[in-house]
Point group: C2
Chain length 346, copies 2
DNA sequence: CTGAAAGCGCTTACAG
DNA sequence: CTGAAAGCGCTTACAG
């Protein structure tokens, strides 16, 4: 592969001159003839920079890693979008990975934590991450921005307004007239905070929040959540689910159990995603500013890297927003409450 | 950050000795005392290798990139799994990206194509990729394994058995007694080949295949597919959809239109994914060996890199498999055909 | 058994 | 206006 050395030989100049043309640095006032000769030579050999050499010399790779739990979670789509755009604008490349790959001893983890190829890590996890891995992360100089609040005060974290999300979801149901509203979530901080938001909204309305049902995050967790609610006696008329895929699972379980949604049970899922529009009944969700969060994540990485002041914590603006679809309705509104929920043969 | 030089100073040895201990190379018979001193020093400073330096010196990064179209497509989950495991076993790290990031001029693309940080690329795309980007790819020395067959004979590609997938899906419907079966797909090779499989199965059964309805890949495409079928006159009794998310969208559109699935219309989606179990009615799918395909992809990357003989083309084993769920039934079986499709209030 | 040296391909002061 | 040189942190023949 062509290197700057070859180009220099071809153009009859020094490597420094080639590097200068390539980067637009120093040697700024080079004779036009020289510059042209160099540019021709560059084009001729089809020069491709060696990123490893550049990273070694510059002491920065120009790449940030983004690691999430459950890559396939549709809630990340917008987050990735925001991160990618903000990173591109700064001249950084983004690489993605799944947190299940971050096992102690994996080459993936080694690459993340090693110096030279990754400048910083943006890490989003639903539940608490493996402590051993977290210890590795903390021990290394690579800056890490956690996307979701953490217990440890030394961690840099940002997050959407989970409290408001739980509150807004609950308020939507209260406005529809519901008074018996349950909350189904998973382990870990974000879900717990959304649960607090739920409890706050309930109390503010003079209602009694019930204890959160803690199951998990996938579709199966939604099904287990419904099971738990049913085994607790009288089913509430509405439920806030902390996670969108879990809400979809709960919807399916309700259909299987012959529980009409929204006639008998209204369901709100936190996080908006395409899938909410595709299931039947379609799922009412709380849209969170994931794209803005992605941008913020990159800004914080940048601040951490440059020593500029950070702006960590909760991203409160724009606020969570209700996307009302067909899984919510006033209590007791029966099967025909919504034109789109029935699927009778014509 | 600690370098080998510092460790060497600390242990009173040469850098070569430190490198040897770190890598288990040369200097194999080092005195135990020396080795211990070095190991202590390594532990003491918390040494982390500099991957950029190593990559530059070794002339290989130990990292492969995997780029897909629509990262959020659940069909990739198993593919990533296979790739990751096979890569780890070879000591490689894997980084992921979305094809929408591969725009000409993006830093992401530059990083992929640059030397030094990525040894090879595994690229999976549903439709044909931007020709400009493909030209870039072909011009660079970085080996590329395409996951899906391509027109250009110079490309290295592997794929699942799309022909068999289309065939198996169609045969499942034929076995149920359907004779009027449509095919809905997207642009590009994989969908076209699945359509061929459909047509083959139809003809083998003495039936007349209809022209493929070409819409696209997301849920909306499924809805548009149904619209197209309805506008073509009498709706067939069954449909093979080339893509799982598109099939889910078609299911939703059928529900909205009051078309009973599977009573009036049976639906099979190609590619299995968790979502198929979660929608109602649950979706019958064709499971393809995506994990094995991931492993194969890494094997081919390895072969390309080492100059070993490749094993490209269609991965026929294990063959596609029908996962029968509730979206398929004999024609005209009515609303109560399946115990899980009704969602009446109890 | 161990160290000195070269060199991977860059960038960047520095000297002229 | 341009080039020679140092050095980023490694690995790997090579010499002793």
């Amino acid at each position: 592969m062509a290197t700057q050395k070859e180009i220099a030989r071809l153009a009859g100049v020094s490597v420094s001159a080639v590097s200068a043309v390539l980067n637009g640095t120093t040697h700024t006032r080079m004779s036009d003839a020289t510059r042209e000769r160099i540019e021709e030579a560059i084009a001729e050999v089809g020069y491709v920079p060696n990123d490893a050499a550049r990273a070694l010399r510059r002491q920065q790779a120009g790449t940030i890693a983004v690691v999430v739990e459950k890559l396939e979670n549709p809630a990340y789509k917008e987050l990735f979008h925001g991160i990618y755009e903000a990173a591109e604008a700064r001249g950084w490349a983004v690489v993605l990975g799944d947190i299940v790959w971050m096992r102690s001893g994996s080459h993936f983890l080694a690459r993340l934590l090693g110096r030279g190829s990754i400048d910083a890590i943006v890490l989003r996890q639903d539940r608490l991450i493996d402590e051993e891995v977290l210890a590795h992360l903390r021990a290394r100089p690579t800056p890490v921005v956690l996307v979701e609040r953490q217990a440890d005060p030394h961690d840099s974290w940002i997050s959407v307004d989970d409290l408001a999300a739980g509150r807004v979801a609950t308020e939507h149901l209260i406005e529809l007239g519901h008074t018996e509203i349950a909350f189904v979530g998973g382990e870990g901080q974000p879900s717990a905070v959304r649960g607090e938001g739920y409890a706050t909204a309930m109390r503010d309305a003079g209602l009694v929040p019930s204890a959160p049902v803690v199951t998990g995050f996938g579709p199966e967790s939604g099904a287990r959540g419904l099971d738990a609610l049913r085994s607790q006696g009288e089913l509430p008329t509405a439920v806030v689910v902390a996670n969108v895929m879990s809400a979809v699972g709960l919807l399916a379980a309700a259909a299987d159990a012959g529980i009409d949604v929204p006639g008998r049970l209204s369901v709100v899922g936190i996080h908006d995603a395409d899938i909410a529009d595709v299931v039947r009944p379609s799922l009412t969700t709380i849209r969170l500013p994931m794209r803005a969060l992605g941008v913020r994540a990159v800004e914080q990485v940048s601040a951490l890297l440059s020593g500029a002041p950070t702006e960590l914590g909760v991203l409160a603006d724009p606020p969570p927003e209700v996307i009302a679809r067909n899984s919510t309705a006033p209590p007791g509104s029966g099967t025909s409450s919504s034109p789109r929920t029935s699927s009778v043969v014509s």
